[in-house]
Symmetry: C2
Subunit: 334 residues, 2 copies
DNA sequence: AACATTTATGTAAGCGCTTACAATTATTTT
DNA sequence: AAAATAATTGTAAGCGCTTACATAAATGTT
């Protein structure tokens, strides 16, 4: 690889001048600029961005940490963030936290040590305090899907409890009273909040919550499957099942059909997240919309505005879930 | 952030010694090692990996380029690569190429300029020549899902034509003769090859290929939907439809049901890729397995072995697709 | 024409680290 | 115990770039 030095030599100018034309941040006469550009071209010169980062203490890249690299939810989030960054000529450095405290911390440290200009973090296992401390370390960052009052400015999140409430409320409204619930891992804040929303809705309709109609899943298809198996074994009848996310809803639908239940005629199913595939399940999944793509974009814009431009931006921090009615829930005639 | 200099000062040793304990690559007495470690701890020192990369010309990170950051296929691939790398303490830097020549080149250049030690590339729009030239540039890389004879050593790929053949062959075997085909964008090599496999199978069974029963989709759910719409409009009857990937199969199934067709009794559907969700569609999708996770892992191991360890490794370059029989194809009684 | 401005370019000191090579100290050998 | 050898540690030169500061060239002013 050619270096800036070779370019300067070929062009017959100094290092500094070459640097100036690379960054286009100082006046260089048209004539020398042309010479430099030509030299860069003949040498097929590409600035070494590691050296640029070290010297300038900026990397023009932002670090992204998600729990998993697979999964429609994270995919959506990453994709929209990357798109927004790319539009500004910035790059994404992505890593996975695997919902594990050690991994998550490692990931964050890795991104910091890479001189990312800012971080967009989807953290689950790490403590609030860690993030509060992170702020003190002067690393610009924004968290997605997490609200920490002490650093509210850095949080972009969904009202998960409201979402859980909306889902079950809809079921209740349709006349369902015996409602099973497939939760996410309850140590995860969002899973917990969605579950709380569920219970809140039940309470509002004076339906008592039955612990045995609740299963703690893993947010994956296969968890939904297992949940149904367990739930059916209890022998307790239910006319609807609310799932803490769409993946588990897909697994649940599959398992229900396997057991000979018709959806939604025998049993209704409600999802959460409104992932792309939920429009293509059978029956089409009624769910709660999580505007993750929009939130990812918002996160990216926050970063872009705070870091690379001067204009102060007021961004939306809290997002509202919305009911998405499709075909997986039946109007129940009592 | 503390620097290595401050650590050396606090520990009362030289920079070099601190560097040695960081990298653990030279003999340092237990005593001084302890002093240094203590100093690092009290200063909460983290090596600046940008500086490390610049000085050592290695970054302990490998660059990954996929077409999109969303999508189950890429998710699977990224996820397994990341896992394999992490086990070795290496990191992934991921970027998207968006199936666009300019973007893909930019992405590759970005990764190179980041001093990635090696690249794992899923490239679609770029020419073979570009990759051949890339090899000359001495950047260790491996391409996934692409075979270029001139650089066969660097290719890890699936026999896509065989896959296309297997899918349609299975349909034919089940007695289907009127088979529609939903292709991927035919400028993409894999889409083209799968399509060729389809035609090959037809030929083998002396079934003439009907251009009007073919639709060129976009590899997405929505493309499958549109395909069915178009295909049905032709008025030409078909008892089965082979799709070039699972996403389009999901869209196709959804659209077929919408039009009142029963799957598989009226019309059978065949997918390709065997993505996770294909086990949870209704009916469960019969498809062709693409061992993308395994291939991702293989790619990661190739990189790891070639770069960071000494042992020569013989890795598998070509992978075979396999038939996955589930419930979306009917045995057709002629 | 002498001086003040403005514009364009060069000089050189880092950024935080790695790594030959040199220097020092400890351990063996005879 | 001196010499030889091995084990530690230090010195200093980069890695490829940015950027304050200094200098030189071009233009304008009176």
């Amino acid at each position: 690889m050619a270096t800036i030095y070779q370019v300067s030599e070929l062009a017959g100018v100094s290092l500094a001048t070459v640097s100036r034309v690379i960054n286009d941040n100082a006046i260089v006469s048209e004539k020398t600029k042309a010479k430099v550009l030509a030299a860069m071209k003949t040498l097929d010169y590409r600035p070494n961005s590691v050296a640029q980062s070290l010297a300038s203490n900026r990397s023009n890249s932002v670090g992204i940490l998600v729990s998993e690299l697979h999964g429609a939810f994270y995919g959506s989030m990453m994709s929209d963030i990357e798109l927004a960054l790319r539009e500004f000529g910035k790059h994404a450095i992505i890593t996975a936290g695997h919902s594990d405290e050690k991994s998550e911390k490692e990931g964050v440290e890795f991104l910091i040590s890479r001189s990312c200009d800012a971080l967009i973090l989807h953290l689950e296992a790490v403590s609030d305090q860690y993030l509060i401390d992170l702020k003190k370390r002067n690393v610009p960052f924004v968290t997605v899907n997490r609200y920490i009052p002490e650093i509210a400015e850095n949080c972009i999140f969904l009202d998960n409890e409201l979402g859980g409430y909306i889902a079950t409320h809809y079921l209740l409204q349709q006349g369902h009273r015996d409602i099973a619930y497939i939760a996410g891992p309850l140590w995860k804040t969002d899973a917990k909040q969605r579950f709380n929303g569920h219970k809140k809705a039940l309470k509002e309709f004076d339906v008592s919550f039955n612990q045995r109609l609740m299963y703690e899943g893993n947010f994956q298809e296969e968890g939904g499957q297992k949940a149904i198996q367990t739930l059916l074994e209890t022998g307790i009848a239910f006319s609807a099942v609310a799932c803490a996310n769409d993946e588990m809803a897909a697994g649940a639908m599959s398992a229900l059909r396997e057991k000979g239940h018709n959806i939604p005629d025998d049993i209704s199913v409600m999802g959460f997240d409104n992932l792309v595939f939920s429009r293509f399940t059978f029956p089409k999944l009624s769910t709660v919309n999580y505007p993750i793509a929009l939130m990812g974009k918002t996160a990216a814009n926050w970063v872009l505005n705070n870091l690379y431009t001067d204009r102060e931006s007021h961004i939306q921090h809290i997002f509202k879930p919305e009911l998405v009615v499709r075909d997986s829930v039946k109007k129940f005639n009592q």
